[in-house]
């Protein structure tokens, strides 16, 4: 009897749940050559006919906004049909499958500059040199560089999200009698005043390592400029470089001001990005300032009661040094690439570089662009104007460094850059040790490749 019990129990044990990992691979279909129905309007543009298949990240409301851009295009080119397919965030996987299968879409929207580089070097992309003059007429020269791989223009950065921002609690700033800091010294002075007023200045979401690397990248970019930023990003200068140590020392002035962090060092390391936002915009405020990109607005609106302008506001990240780097901007970008070359595709790409294309989406919100011919007044509300207008004005623009580095170093939880910056938050005086750790991890990651 005893044995039977044991055996029954034991057999039940044997049937332990087995986890199966099934890699979901989305298929991709691409149709080409379907002639579109003839539209109503006439003119030389209506000679351009055909269809363009387009795989994009946007779904839902964003897909509808992009449909407005396509509609604006069709007003000029009635006989080109754009077939937009909302793929979602797994564009890289879908594209990889489609390319391997030999049927890539005509165009795609890629958020990873590293992937664009890789595809261009593999010869999968078609150059878009025909759009050079359109881009030059509408964008600062830096935007062509961002779409260029090994000297050839492959991508148009159609949509950009500003990551060089500072968000602040308006009542907390009013109580302390300070205004949005314009320079680094202003920031440190404001922070001191905020602390005296009883509100800790900095709300840090250090449990998410990327909030720390973004802060570092902004300080580095605004101090040393685009060229040096890109060298660091490519690992052609080392993380033990004096410039890195200096930027870390500056960052340490924020992270080391422990009485001025929401919840002290322990709070800063345990709060994630969302916590840092809700803490800073709660009532009464637990903190006053959050350093992050334009997406903070969405979190504030969905998880706090703060209202735009009266409760929260955005300002450009403080200028660290006067000069050309003072308004440099770090962005997350949507890069449009082409896999084929037809008159219809050319027409669409050229159109996308114009102000008309950008305006069609900009007036709906949730959109930023480097197009300098898009007036700030087109943005639908004050917050969007504050966050997106600086992108068009910047002469110096870079992608998020983590998007360009090997992911083992730049974007893995608890490892590489994210983990090491969390160590830095725990001990912000250890600048040399952290620089050395970063260099060791970077060297290992770049050696084993992306």
């Amino acid at each position: 009897m005893k044995n039977r019990v044991v055996r029954g129990v034991a057999l039940a044990m044997l049937v332990l749940p087995l986890a199966l990992l099934a890699a979901g691979c989305g298929g991709s279909s691409s149709s080409s050559g379907t002639t579109a129905t003839t539209g109503g309007s006439s003119g030389s543009n209506s000679d351009v006919k055909g269809s363009v298949t387009f795989d994009g990240i946007w779904t839902g409301a964003e897909a509808q906004s992009f449909a407005k851009v396509i509609a604006a295009f069709n007003e000029q080119y009635p006989n080109v049909k754009i077939k937009y397919k909302p793929v979602g965030n797994n564009v890289p996987t879908v594209l990889a499958t489609a390319i391997a299968g030999g049927h890539p879409p005509d165009m795609a929207d890629i958020a990873q500059p590293g992937l664009v580089k890789q595809l261009a070097q593999q010869g999968k992309l078609k150059p878009i040199t025909y759009a050079k003059s359109a881009i030059a007429a509408n964008f600062a020269p830096v935007w062509q560089q961002l779409g260029t791989v090994d000297g050839t223009l492959y991508a148009l950065v159609f949509k950009a999200a500003n990551k060089s921002l500072l968000w602040y609690n308006v009542p907390a700033f009013q109580q302390a009698g300070v205004t949005a800091p314009k320079t680094w010294d202003n920031l440190l002075a404001d922070a001191k005043t905020l602390k005296q007023s009883g509100t800790p200045a900095y709300s840090i979401g250090g449990a998410d390592g990327w909030t720390l690397t973004d802060l570092f990248e902004n300080i580095y970019l605004r101090t040393y400029g685009q060229a040096k930023y890109e060298q660091l990003s490519d690992h052609t200068i080392k993380w033990t470089d004096p410039s890195v140590k200096n930027a870390l020392t500056m960052m340490g002035k924020i992270l080391g001001d422990t009485g001025n962090l929401v919840g002290g060092t322990n709070g800063a390391i345990q709060n994630g990005f969302n916590d840092s936002v809700t803490n800073a915009f709660s009532d009464p405020p637990k903190g006053a300032i959050v350093f992050e990109g334009d997406f903070v607005a969405g979190v504030i609106l969905s998880s706090t009661k703060a209202k735009p302008k009266t409760g929260f506001n955005a300002a450009p990240f403080p200028a660290v040094k006067p000069g050309p780097n003072a308004n440099a901007v770090e962005i997350g970008g949507d890069l449009f690439v082409t896999f084929r070359d037809t008159p219809a595709i050319e027409a669409f790409v050229k159109f996308l570089a114009t102000a008309d294309a950008a305006k069609a989406w900009a007036k709906l919100g949730g959109f930023g662009t480097g197009n300098k011919n898009v007036p700030a007044s087109i943005y639908p509300d004050a917050i969007t104007r504050a966050t997106e207008a600086p992108i068009g004005k910047a002469t110096s623009v870079v992608f998020d460094m983590s998007d360009e580095q090997p992911s083992a170093f730049g974007s893995t939880t608890g490892q590489g850059e994210w983990g090491i910056f969390q160590d830095f938050l725990r001990n912000p005086s250890n600048v040399n040790g952290i620089a050395q750790k970063l260099e060791t991890a970077a060297a290992a990651a770049y050696k084993s490749g992306k």
């Binding site: 044991v6 129990v9 602390k195 725990r426």
Partner: protein, 435 residues
């Protein structure tokens, strides 16, 4: 289909066919989902990071496994898990099982203890993460701690306050006027760092009282107005802090106390001449209980162990309870008749008879613990996941969770497999013996 009697050739073949038909699907599924991935993983562990196979790197993935700091931490943590969890789960399960036999609400109790098994480990992790939050306003465990702490000593009314000028300093939690003073002075005790909502109710515009001979007067106020104001000077718009206890101590050590009024002023009249030291008592500034950092790097693994034991104790209780129910009562009665105490009966009769069940629970827990993954990824905040790392999580992180190093990831998977095999073999041998 009824099998033909053995012996005749066609009938034998038909039997084989039937067997093959029945076993076929299982073999195919096992082959596709178990054998192929296992073999591929073993081969893959000798190749580089990307691609179907990548480049041959020999044993270097295994070298990395034992030389990378994050992976070593994962192995160390797994050792702690194996050392602590199976033994504790078995012991707690045994205690619960024996005790539930004797309580009247046994079913309700068993259900309550078993309930965590019905919740997915991921949901458990999310729940415990909230319980463990350091901020007592959020984390229930630290909220309990705060309630207990506030019974012992209530937090000060101005616990965030700081001296506004260097003429004051913080000493042993109290704010002390550095320079000694004589009667006939009016002193300024300015404080900053007080949020507007923490200013005691009824506060009015602060006033710097006039000096009077033979008395020490002064004001305690929130030395801040928007923009900062002038530190150390009472200005229009700055509020007095009422209800603060100010002390002066004379040369002999005798202390006098006074409480501030609505405008923050206080006064010590009729003081004999001499030198005095003024201060605001430490209890005004005593910090509230700020919670333990359960999710911090030091406590994260113990916190995880507690949550994991909470999940599995019910399982152990039910399994051991089943064994207990099946145990022959006459043996226990015989022991009692022979004069054994309850403890002796438990120790010498119950436990030995239950030994096979206990070892099944123990071994099962070892296997479970070696594979632990979901609880760690959902409970540990990202900033301490490196401290909480375990082998299965390290494997996933290395192969899929960003690093995308399939070579090293496979090596970790093989290592984990090698660890599980001996325990599994032990278990299988046990089944065979029991049959």
């Amino acid at each position: 289909m009824v099998a033909a009697p053995p012996g005749s050739d066609p009938a034998g073949r038909a039997r084989y066919l039937t067997g093959a038909l029945f076993l076929g699907p299982a073999f195919v599924l096992l082959g596709v989902w178990m054998v192929y991935p296992a073999v591929y993983t073993i081969i893959r562990s000798f190749f580089g990071r990307t691609g179907y196979l990548g480049t041959w790197v020999g044993g270097s993935n295994y070298v990395r496994l034992f030389t990378t700091h994050t992976l070593i931490r994962a192995i160390e943590n797994n050792v702690i898990w194996v050392a602590v969890v199976p033994a504790l789960v078995t012991a707690i399960g045994l205690i619960f099982a024996v005790l539930t036999e004797r309580v009247s609400w046994a079913v309700a109790f068993k259900t309550a203890v078993f309930l965590p098994m019905a919740i997915s480990a991921f949901a458990t992790g999310v729940t415990w993460r909230i319980l463990y939050q350091q901020d007592p306003d959020v984390g229930a465990i630290n909220a309990l701690g705060r309630s207990a702490a506030s019974l012992v000593s209530a937090p000060g009314v101005l616990h965030t306050a700081l001296p506004s000028t260097p003429t004051l300093q913080t000493r042993n939690g109290a704010v002390v006027l550095k320079a000694p003073l004589q009667p006939g002075r009016s002193v300024s005790l300015g404080l900053t760092g007080i949020p507007p909502q923490d200013v005691p109710s009824g506060a009015q515009q602060a006033v710097q009282p006039k000096a009077q001979s033979g008395a020490i007067d002064g004001v305690v106020w929130r030395d801040f107005k928007p923009g900062g104001g002038k530190p150390g000077v009472v200005e229009q718009g700055e509020l007095g802090l009422p209800g603060v206890t100010v002390q002066v101590k004379d040369a002999s050590g005798k202390t006098r106390s006074a409480t501030t009024g609505k405008d923050g002023t206080f006064s010590f009249d009729n003081l004999p001449s001499g030198t005095y030291h003024a201060s605001i008592g430490a209890q005004t500034f005593s910090k509230p209980f700020n919670g333990y950092s359960w999710l911090g790097p030091k406590l994260i693994t113990p916190s995880l162990l507690i949550a994991y034991i909470w999940i599995w104790a019910g399982f152990a209780m039910v399994v051991i309870g089943a064994g207990l129910a099946a145990m022959p009562r006459d043996v226990l009665e015989a022991a009692r008749t022979d004069g054994a105490t309850e403890w002796q009966t438990f120790r010498r009769v119950t436990v030995p008879l239950l030994a096979p069940v206990l070892s099944v629970v123990f071994i099962t827990m070892i296997i479970n613990v070696l594979k632990v993954f979901d609880l760690v990824i959902s409970l540990a905040p990202e900033s301490t996941q490196a401290n909480a790392n375990v082998i299965a999580l390290a494997m996933w992180r290395t192969a899929f969770g960003g690093a995308n190093d399939f070579g090293t990831g496979s090596a970790i998977a093989v290592f984990l497999f090698v660890l599980v095999v001996p325990v599994l073999a032990l278990n299988i041998r046990r089944f065979k013996r029991d049959v």
